[in-house]
């Protein structure tokens, strides 16, 4: 592996106007080596108020969501609603490659800073707009939070207990997914721009990003007119003309839970996995009824619920006697489709992630501390990952950008500050 820092987007500048809804897009471009400038209102971005906080101290420079979604970025303050602010922004656009934003559709136009205006300043500019439902359409102005967004995208209905409402994962995904697809769309536009010199507007819908994440849920409806519903700790196979088949996948064990797939021949590796798991139980004198079970004959379309339950019950009883570790170690050894259900503590202590050099230590001089962050999930042969920059404090790089780069005098900066422009 070369010792070069990552620089796939070296020399590209991103002006990041986004709030909570689109911050992740700029982070992903920064991760690939772009020079990202987070442009915030003078009072600071509202995403700085999102908890949890460092040492549980609510403070605009201590939001952990902010920390993560603004790594790699520099930060300046700028009030786009003032004439001076608009002029400064237009000046920055002249030399920028990307503008990312997540305002309500129409807001940038109302400031005279919509794509058609920016394109005149810099025809190469790519403007990426990340909003819950896209720039136009009947729901374009609908408001969301995470739970509203993932519900509208179809992700909530497919998870939950049968005797309770469906449920959302207790960690927001909606805007991260929009930011991720924003980065993908920005890169497609970037490729086109590098070949032709032509920029464009990228219009991202977080709702569509979620709809794309449902595995075969849409396809199941399209084929069988069945809307998949969360079925507690089970998967449920849709069967035309018969009730769905419940296959348990979450099993309690001695110190927590494991995920385990026990079925027949419909997925690669499944027969060998089920056989090995039964053998493991047999060795402990359990699940003797599954000795020599003909796994390859299981047909998910016709097997009865009673038959499947009679396979699952002895496996459940066996798993209950073991720890997550005992089960996973042997699962790895024998190719059994089983994984521990981890907590955040388990994740941080994972030997695999340590061996992959996944974690990144990032200095926070303002806190007198180094904090360990999740790292980039792709190893790239040409590069080592570049030293990371922690998220900016409010207006941290005002001097560098306004004075050093744009050439404003100290007096001018003071004047702009005085009038709430920066």
């Amino acid at each position: 592996m070369a010792e070069q820092e990552i620089s796939l987007l070296e020399g590209c500048r991103v002006l990041d106007l986004a709030d909570e809804k689109g911050l992740f897009c700029g982070k992903l471009l920064g991760e690939l080596g772009a020079d990202v400038i987070k442009v915030e209102p003078p009072a600071g971005d509202t995403a700085r108020n999102i908890g949890p906080f460092y040492k549980d101290t609510p403070h605009p420079d201590k939001s952990l969501f902010w920390f993560f979604t603004n790594m790699y970025k520099k930060g300046i303050t700028l009030n786009l609603e003032t004439s001076d602010g608009k002029e400064i922004f237009k000046k920055l656009v002249e030399t920028a490659d990307f503008v990312t934003e997540s305002f309500e559709p129409g807001y940038m136009e109302s400031l005279g800073l919509g794509y058609s205006a920016l394109e005149k300043i810099n025809p190469r500019i790519i403007m990426t707009s990340i909003t819950p439902f896209g720039q136009t359409g009947p729901y374009a102005h609908y408001k969301t939070t995470d739970i509203v967004g993932v519900s509208m995208g179809g992700m909530v209905y497919i998870s939950g207990e049968l005797d309770r409402p469906p449920n959302r994962i207790s960690s927001p995904q909606f805007y991260l997914m929009g930011g991720l697809h924003g980065a993908a769309g920005s890169m497609v536009a970037h490729y086109h721009r590098e070949l032709t010199g032509e920029g464009q507007h990228v219009d991202v819908s977080c709702q569509q990003a979620v709809a794309l994440s449902l595995m075969v849920v849409a396809e199941i409806y399209d084929m069988l007119k069945f809307s998949y519903r969360g079925m507690g700790p089970n998967y449920a196979g849709a069967r035309p003309g018969a009730p769905p088949l419940f296959s348990r996948v979450i099993y309690p064990c001695r110190d927590g839970h494991v995920f385990c797939l026990i079925t027949g021949a419909s997925q690669a590796g499944m027969v060998a996995s089920s056989k090995a798991l039964a053998e493991m139980a047999n060795r402990d004198g359990l699940a003797s009824e599954l000795k020599d079970y003909p796994w390859q004959t299981i047909d998910a379309a016709t097997i009865s619920q009673e038959e499947l339950d009679s396979i699952i019950e002895p496996i459940r009883a066996f798993i209950e006697t073991k720890t997550k570790h005992e089960l996973f170690d042997e699962a790895l050894e024998r190719g059994i489709l089983l994984a521990p259900i981890t907590t955040m503590k388990d994740v941080v202590e994972s030997p695999q992630l340590a061996a992959r050099d996944f974690w990144q230590a990032v200095e926070h001089p303002e806190l007198g501390e180094t904090i360990t962050y999740p790292g980039y999930p792709i190893k790239i042969s040409e590069f080592t990952h570049r030293v990371q920059r922690r998220a900016p404090l409010i207006g941290e790089h005002n001097e560098e950008i306004y004075e050093g780069e744009m050439g404003f005098s100290k007096d001018q900066v003071a004047l702009l500050k005085n009038h709430g422009v920066i």
Binding site: L28, G185, S213, Y373
Partner: protein
Amino acid sequence: MSRQVFEGVKVADFSWVAVGPQVARELAFHGATVVRVECHRWPETTRTAGPFKDGVTGINRSAFATAYNTNKYGISLDLNMPRGQELARKLVRWADIVTDSMSPGAMAKWGLDYESCKKIKPDIIYYSTCQMGQHGPYCRFKGYGMLGVSYAGYCHLNGWPDRDPLPFFNNHSDFISPYYLATALIAALLYRRKTGRGMYLDQSQVEVGINFLAPLVLDYVVNKRIACRMGNRDMYIAPHALFPCRGSDRWVAIAITGELEWHSFCNVIGQPEWTRDTRFNTLLGRKENEDELERLIAEWTLGRTATQVMHMLQEVGIPAGVVQTAEDLFNDPQLKYREHFRYLEHKVIGVHAYHSPAYKLSKTPCEIRKAGPCLGEDNEHVYKNILGLSDDEIADLLIEGVITTETDMPEVLRDK
């Protein structure tokens, strides 16, 4: 027809199941030529797992198998045969990008790992994606995304605090990993244009999943708090729940994020006195009396459809949304407006639905034109026009079984 963004970019797609094929699909959506390599002797999971057209199994009947292969060519080839490997090398020589989503080590067995491909084509760009990455003590971990998300901390955060954790039917990391990889892949293509150098990308899908839980990971790192599932509640917002609506198993999501919204909400639902009720007039009060509040709001929502509630609340700027089912997604006016689902004709399945990208490009829109291929559907075109084989050579390869035609699905899944 205008020039497509990735016109002329060539992909030899050896990947399978969900993650790897979606990455190549992203390029295919915008004009890349992608050749997907499969084999009848070990048909891939998506072909055997369904959903099948009319619920009838068959190697070309699964909409799972077509979903991530829009706009691609499909060929059949036995990589276990020396002649098959030879043809695969020919395809690598043709390609700009080689894809791999097998368990670590599988591609090396066929002489198709990065180092081997680099010898065939020195500037090749090659990506591998698997659950745990190519190295490390657990790299031999074989499995699907549902196991990966369990290991990445998702299930522990999904469900109710008084019940067992819940699985993810959608294998969440399988559907965020592809876009991470696509962004890096496009950057790699541009890097190669500039420098003439290819590269190797090694993705861990578990690590992608963990990135999407980062605030909670950091909460453990700096505050030692181990996050747990909390039903539909939120630490910082109340009310924040799904409420039952008219109909069977119908729900609406409502989240009231501030004082103004709370006042509008109370007015809309005809309970203006709640703004003065000491149980509910402050955020701390609403949080403390959340059970009671949820119960009372449910009395109002129950008499209305989820769509009615959403429209009434959105009209006054309150975040509310239908908990949409798959059927709802197909009828959603916004998704229709955005043309999210596109309909293509598949040779066996007939006309059926395909997803389109979540982003719209103003000057170079994607073109969605070809249904995911049947197994070996484009053999003639690819072997003849792309790899330059003669009709005689192709006939020999068919006879020898190098180009496969015989389904070797498990008996229970054979075409019926």
